[in-house]
């Protein structure tokens, strides 16, 4: 319930007017249907008394026609209004989620070790639309209808209204609660089995070769079958329950018609109700119940939202971010970086991720960093960017602690990583992310610098070519070039390259390395790399191992004196 209070109610409150109008319209829709039955029942009974003139039934005739039309119109408006309200809420939820996610952007991966958490979160917000459309609206509409019917009856006969309140409460409260209670376990189990099946299926498809080669194909198929049957079985249980529930409620509705009919007959006999209303009251029972029956389904769904709400909540919980102090700094063109005996240990870890690192990077210097995975290269980048504070020693950027810069560090340093994200918009827009005020000429210039200009020109849409989802339209090398163009446009004095050539074939790798050297000539470059291609052009090469710097020198020095470097270089060259 707490989760609803935090992540659903505030929005409902914010848009209370639209939501309330939607609910009112929803109630009116059902009432229209009810009134159509009510008035036509009355009309027919009244006309069967053969009134002298048609004018006596003029009002009911108009009413019947009005309700005949209004139901459809109201429903149409209600649906549009409801979706509009929910889309507004979704927009707010997105902004809110982004707002709490943004400060922790760089740590999401390390904090939540799940595959595509971000994709899942986006889906979660979509999914939570249902909280409003499928649960909140029908439930509140049901409650309104319930109250309305009981109050109207009470005007005629409060004792009978009380009886009906109890009977209708069976449909409006007892069955929904019963459904929730009985099916909660199954709902959760169904979700669990579905995600289990998802994992198994993914495992099967991605490991298809292995299953086939290992001769364990049958085994996989058998285990998949078992899991899928379990999942289908629980779905069946849920569906059967819904079918049986609907049947029970419908049979119960029939009984209620009888109760209301007999009551109306007695009232008419006693003279407290005109006989012309017998048909009206009796017939109106069914449409009213049609509005109450969906409440069970709406309430039963509650457990299905839990996982989404929990995931979103987890992100909110992690948001410890105090607003970082954005330092006022003049845009420096000359940047020197000094690491003084720096060490860093992740919370809860026994060993330092990096230690004893002392390093001075002069403006314009080109430094390559090599090392195995886990050697501390990524931590080194985070220290340089000031996104983590060293637990020992100090990192200074232009004589200021790097961590003091906050987000403004990115005005000085750019990062080109292994998989730069390209947005599903045009190439030009992607490049202009580096500098929103850039002119078309600026974009052309950087495209030329990264050697893409001619190729882009040859495309029918030129720079306006769509990247498509995650930049699929372009090859790996081209994607890196576009990302590089973006960085060039940004014109920061320092560029950090975080293994930008992984996954490229040697020819592409070679030409990208050439471009990198060429276009970053006047910048300070820290280049984390997995291969030795292009090392001869770097001013300094640093080898990291176990969080420490174990080799440090120019390419020539290392090649002349260091046996390990010789071996690796020979390996990379293939000689």
């Amino acid at each position: 319930m707490n989760l609803y209070q935090q992540h659903i109610l505030p929005y409902a409150r914010k848009y209370n007017k639209t939501i309330l109008s939607t609910i009112l319209l929803g109630t009116l829709t059902i009432l229209s249907a009810a009134m159509l039955t009510f008035t036509s029942g009355y009309l027919i009974s009244r006309t069967s008394e053969r009134p002298e003139t048609i004018l006596l039934v003029y009002i009911p005739i108009v009413a019947v026609r009005t309700f005949g039309i209004s139901r459809a119109a109201l429903r149409y408006v209600e649906r549009l209004l409801g979706h509009n309200a929910v889309l507004k809420i979704i927009a707010d939820m997105r902004v809110q989620l982004y707002h709490v996610l943004e400060p922790q952007a760089l740590f999401i991966r390390s904090r939540f070790q799940t595959g595509d958490l971000l994709g899942a979160l986006a889906d979660d917000i979509e999914h939570l639309q249902d909280v409003y459309i499928r649960t909140l609206f029908p439930t509140v509409i049901g409650l309104f209808l319930f109250s309305f019917s009981v109050i109207v009856l009470a005007v005629y006969d409060w004792k009978f209204a009380l009886i009906m309140a109890v009977l209708l409460a069976i449909v409006t409260f007892m069955y929904p609660m019963l459904s929730l209670y009985m099916m909660k376990k199954n709902q959760l189990q169904s979700k669990k089995l579905h995600s289990q099946l998802y994992n198994t299926m993914t495992e099967g498809i991605f490991g298809l070769r292995d299953w086939i080669i290992s001769g364990r194909k049958q085994q996989f198929l058998a285990s998949f079958k078992e899991e899928s049957h379990a999942s289908h079985a629980i779905d069946k249980k849920l569906a059967y329950w819904q079918q049986s529930r609907t049947m029970q409620l419908q049979v119960f509705s029939g009984l209620l018609v009888l109760v209301v009919g007999v009551w109306a007959g007695q009232q008419a006999a006693a003279g407290s109700l005109a006989p012309t209303y017998i048909a009206a009251f009796t017939l109106v029972t069914l449409p009213i119940l049609e509005g109450l029956i969906p409440v069970s389904f709406a309430i039963e769904r509650l457990p299905a939202y839990e996982a989404s709400l929990q995931r979103i909540d987890a992100i909110h919980q992690q948001n410890t971010a105090e607003e970082p102090i954005a330092m006022e700094l003049s845009r420096a063109d000359q940047v020197s970086i000094v690491l003084d005996n720096v060490g860093y240990r992740y919370e809860g870890q026994k060993e330092n991720a990096v230690q004893n690192i002392s390093l001075t990077i002069q403006p314009g210097e080109k430094v390559a960093v090599l090392g195995k995975s886990g050697a501390g290269k990524s931590t080194l980048i985070q220290l340089l960017l000031g996104t983590v504070q060293p637990t020992e020693g100090q990192v200074h950027v232009n004589e200021q602690a790097a961590s003091l810069y906050g987000d403004s560090i990115f005005e000085i340093m750019s990062v080109l990583n292994q998989k730069p994200y390209l947005f599903a918009t045009t190439v030009q827009n992607n490049i202009k992310l580096g500098d929103a005020s850039a002119t078309f000429e600026d974009v052309q210039r950087v495209a030329e610098q990264v050697g893409l200009f001619e190729y882009l020109q040859s495309l029918p849409e030129g720079l306006k070519t769509q990247m498509e989802e995650t930049g699929q339209r372009f090859s790996g090398g081209e994607r890196q070039r576009i990302a590089l163009a973006r960085i060039l446009l940004k014109q920061t004095p320092v560029v950090i390259l975080d293994e930008p050539t992984v996954g490229l074939d040697p020819v592409t790798e070679h030409s990208l390395v050439e471009t990198l050297h060429h276009s970053l000539e006047d910048k300070t470059v820290v280049w984390i790399t997995h291969h030795l291609m292009g090392m001869e052009k770097m001013d300094r090469i640093i080898f990291m191992d176990g969080g420490e710097v174990i080799m440090n020198g120019t390419h020539k020095e290392l090649l002349a004196t260091n046996e390990r470097y010789q071996q690796l270089y020979a390996l990379d060259q293939g000689i």
Binding site: S40, V64, G68, H83, N199, I205, D210, K490, G574
Partner: protein, 573 residues
Amino acid sequence: MDKYLLQYKGSKQVMVWIGLLTVVQSIAIVIQAIYLAKAITQLFQGADWSEALRSFVIFVVANSVRHVIQWAKERISYRFADLTAKDYEQQLLKKIFDLGPQVVGKYGSGHLVTLGLEGVPKFRKYVELLIPRTLAMAIVPFVIVGYVFTLDIMSAVTLIIVLPILIIFLILIGLVSKKKIDEQMDTYRLLSRHFVDSLRGIVTLKYLGRSRAHEESIAIVSNKYRIATNRSLRYAFLSSFSLDFFASLSVAVVAVELGLRLINGQILLEPSLAILILAPEFFSPVRELGNDFHATADGKDASLQIHSILEEETVVQPVIVSPIATWNDKSKIELRNVEVKIDEQTIFEGLDLELQGFTKVGVIGHSGAGKSTLIDVLSGFTLPTDGSCVLDGQELPHLAIADWQKQIAYIPQHPTIFPDTVIGNIRFYEPDATLQEVQDAAERVGLDLLIATFPAGYEERIGAGGRVLSGGEEQRIALARSLLQRRQILLFDEPTAHLDIETEHELKQMILPLLEDKLVVFATHRIHWMQEMDTIVVLENGKVVETGSHEQLLQQDGAYCRLLEARGRGHAV
């Protein structure tokens, strides 16, 4: 109706049963209306309630019968849909496994997973609704209107006229709104992807210093999205609007019509009430059909996709005359004039290659030259579209033969790490291997030190949802697997290119001894491996252009040398 419907097991019985039940149900609906009308009329005419009770009870019984039948229909169709969906799910998966990795490449792994997990339930829903909804549409309105005819011709005619108009209108509106919605589908998709795009790109935005400002653009785009959605919903909801509109309007028309004739004494109260009660029931099947339109459209789509995969041609397994012997130093395999086409694209044409005994063969070439395809042909995952494979004198159309595949160990660039324990992963191919054997293998590939740091040791879970391994560690798992397999033929597909140079160096030291006394085919970009090979095969545009040892090829100054130059080796030395 669906052309596959009759293929589904038991669909005919289900249709017969549901058809019969629907007929009985329609009769129950009519009886229910008759007796409700009767009861009300009795009360209206001043009869004592106990007198009307009999009619009321008949109404309640008829109503109950009607809904119990509905329940039975739903249960029968759910059961049928459930069995059919389960059956098709199994068939689909089996088909994917029969077709192998090629089908994954063709349809995309993500698509197949979605089809299996979301498509199957949609398909189930579709099958579940298809029969009862169609039959209800075909039976209920006719029974009802038939009865109304006996009461009042005028009302029956009204109902009969409205139904086709309603359906025509529905189709017209459907067409118009589909066109309108399709028109803005691209904008719509772009806008709807914006948020997930922003979330996935949040790190990049951060690096560009744009992440804070981007919040605003999320608000703006979400708003645009809302407006665009509203616009298309206006059309999308039109069809259910028109259904509601015509249905309730014609009920109103019938009611007023009846009222007018009641005044004139042309009809009595009881039949009028019965007609009034039956009028909405007349429209209810078509309304249900309309409301379920989207659910069934999605399901039908899924059904077509599932069927199109099931209709893919499966490999015709060749009749193998003599069993295939274990590979030894005298064995020989030849690819003769092999051609491979995938989706109209020619990968190989006229490819000839001979592999013999325990040799180490390096395969090198530009990306796209066909290195991986060659490995796939050898492992039997890609079937030549022409030419033949001659294995120890036996001519075979392809190598998808269990006896052959059993001899192969395959080490790809990204080995699959299953969400399982370390031990489960290492002995994936040999589930019967003992802990001792697994430990020995792990030690030989240098995994023992890493595993010792895991709290649960060999029982530690790795892969999705467990501990994440680095590329080098994954490769060691793959090597440990192949050690347990003890196979005679090793196929490598670019196992080290993505690793850092030190890890590559370490792995190389580990891999080299494993290659002795095996047939090795090693496809890679990384040239240093070539010196360890007995023969190098240089591929260019799907053809073997050079073969020979490293030294020989260096002297030839041909394709091999050009390949080395293209990667900048020339000026580095």
